[in-house]
């Protein structure tokens, strides 16, 4: 469960709000695609949800925990895949997963099974002894996703998660996202690939210039726009805003 209530953020002395009075409520069992043009406020919103930035106004709750007032509990409830997987590059794959397991307090017996299973699913078993530095972009993306899934958090927050993934890994991740939502959990992800959003999401939130300009089910959105594709709708609703 992810709730944003009237959240706003302004950077420095700017008079323009990067995020302006944004409200969203995402219940369990939903996959929500967060789409918008560059500079629309997607990253700022995700940064506020994950505690990287504090909102100037409004409140954000993850599984009932306020990210500002009760940050540690809120952070335990979500798993975050940042847009760049280039982190901890001098750790080996296995070292990284153990580190993430420790940070999220994953019991060692559970951890063993999950690492083995995730490594097999993402075809990474043979690479866990190598440093992340030697991985391709896609492999780095996979190991970061594995680190997040190790904890099996109820809320997944993914920033452009498909970037760099090979078709098989992208398919696997999409299947996992569906299964996670089907189990009553929440998946919130940003993407520029509208086909992915169209095929995967139960609901989309379109942000432009810091404001949500549409939030609802895809069918509803399409019905409003004479059943044209999401790409065409996106071009229409963000044009001239």
């Amino acid at each position: 469960m992810l709730t944003l209530r009237n959240v706003s953020k302004t950077y420095g002395n700017s008079s323009v709000k990067a995020v302006d009075g944004l409200s969203l409520e995402i219940g369990g069992g939903q996959i929500v695609g967060f789409i918008g043009p560059n500079g629309a406020g997607k990253t700022t919103t995700i940064k506020m949800i994950t505690g990287i930035l504090n909102p100037d106004e409004g409140a954000i709750e993850i599984d009932g925990h306020d990210i500002v007032k009760n940050p540690l509990e809120a952070k335990k409830s979500f798993g975050y895949v940042p847009d760049s997987p280039d982190m901890f590059l001098r750790l080996k794959g296995m070292e990284y997963l153990n580190f993430m397991g420790d940070m999220y307090r994953v019991d060692v017996s559970v951890r063993k099974e999950r690492i083995a299973s995730l490594a097999e699913t993402f075809e990474m078993t043979g690479s866990l002894n190598a440093k992340l530095q030697s991985y391709s972009h896609g492999m780095r993306q996979k190991i970061i996703i594995m680190g997040v899934l190790l904890n099996q958090p109820s809320v997944w927050i993914l920033d452009e998660p498909m970037t760099g993934l090979d078709p098989r890994a992208a398919f696997t991740l999409k299947e996992m996202m569906r299964a996670h939502a089907k189990a009553g959990n929440t998946v919130f992800f940003s993407t520029h690939i509208l086909e992915v959003a169209e095929k995967l999401c139960d609901r989309v939130a379109i942000i432009n210039k810091g404001k949500i300009i549409f939030d609802g089910e895809l069918d509803e959105l399409k019905a409003r726009h004479d059943q044209i594709s999401l790409e065409e709708i996106f071009m229409e609703v963000t044009d001239g805003e």
Binding site: M87, N98, D102, I115
Partner: protein
Amino acid sequence: MSKFFSLSKVLMKDVVSVLDMKFGNKGGKFTGPILWGIVGLCMLPLIFVFYMLFQGVCAIFVPAGELAYITGFMFSIVCLVVLFFSIVSVPSVFYFSNDVETLLPLPLRPAQIIGAKFFVALTMEYGIALLIIAPMYAAYLSYLPVGSLTLNMLIGLLLLPVTPLAYSSIIVMVLMRLFRFGRNRDFYNLIIGLVALVFGAGIGIFSSQLNTITPEQAVELLEGNRGVLDNLRSIFPGTLFAGRAVANGEAGAQLINIAITAGVVALFLFLSKFLYFKSVIGISESSAPSRKMTKEEVLTGARSSGIFASYLQKELRLLFRNPTALMNCVLMVFLMPALMIGSMAFQLSNTDIDLSGLLLAIDYNNPRVVSFIMAGAAAAGIFISCMNLVTCTCISREGKNYIFMKYVPVSYRTQLNAKAASGLAVSVAGLVLFFAGLEIIFKAPLTVFLGALILSLPGGILMNYLGMLIDLAKPKLVWDNEQRAVKQNVNSVILIFGGMFLAAVIGVVGGIFLKTPLTAFVTLLIVTGALAFGSMQMVLTMGESYLEKLNV
């Protein structure tokens, strides 16, 4: 030609940014120039000694009419130094700048890419060449009529670093073509770091020795080594003609110098077509492929260490596996005291002082001596720990990944303490080795040794937490090359100078006012302990708010 200049201009920005020292991510307009000014001021004594020495040499050779010998010698020395420095700098410009694969698809001829890179490397060498030749040439000019800065000298100076740079580029290209290990950035950085440290130590010893050489000895040295100079001239043949052009104003000699330099450049461009692109494509930061893991190994490899221990382990792994951080943040803790003791011993060995007699003369029963030792130990703890740059770069080294600290469900306090512990581990190891080394030399009573060691430890805590506070306040998070997070981080300079000042105050005040060993021990322990506790509390209280505000 316009493509060559456009490309050189773009690549040059990289060099300019290398020189751009900043405080935090922004830094004032004048921060860089001021800091480089300080670096320049620090070099003035060495330049002055060099000038005085060369003036003495000129006093003998100029009246004897051996002007060409002197100018040739100047040029040869500069070529040799440029050759050495450029072997260190060429790989970073030619191989590790990560731009060749971007440049290759552009409509550029290979010679334009190589030429532009050579030009960029050349501009870096001009600084070094100028630094060395300026005091020598100033000394030389002091024996000649005013206004003797000739066009020949300017041409000679412009062409001077070209030949050694071409040589070093060819050497590096051959090495990179033959040995794959050289193409590993980490390995290269480690080797270069070690070479730079040895070279730095060499400069230190050389400059301290330079003070003891008289101009007469320098003249003798030059007279006795004419053969060596001849060899240098045959390696850098242009220097002979450049020297003659400057000394005697021979236009023909200058033309030969230009022709030789052009020939060397042509040779470089010709060879680079065969050597460069084949070795630069696919260059990586990683080491050799590691052994593949089996499913069973995955199951046994999964283990838990606890949050603090795991975070600390991560910090230490990243620190020790990063050659730049290892060389600059860690090894200096061990090398600086060794260099100081080594340099002291080297200087004493050149005097009539009996070192073993001096050591035996230390009276450990004299309370004044022991209280001096205690004050010295407290100061050494601070001094050695301020050479430890682990914590004062610990946030900067995170770069864009600082966000991990903010979204991971671990308190800031735990994360900061784990980072401090990584620095403290390095400080403690350095201090134990330092005092153990001194104990082997001085053979002090065990109580004195232990007392000194204990007194040095709060200094370690103090400097590590202070360093972290500095980095929390102004971290340098925006960088495209991790060397910039460490080497061009003003936070390190602040910690080193601050630590040296504090160590001097503690050492001097403690040494003067604390007259008995017990008073010295207790007072210094309370003072340094209170400072350490205060710095720790400051980090833990202010650190959270600094991290909260952090947004790049």
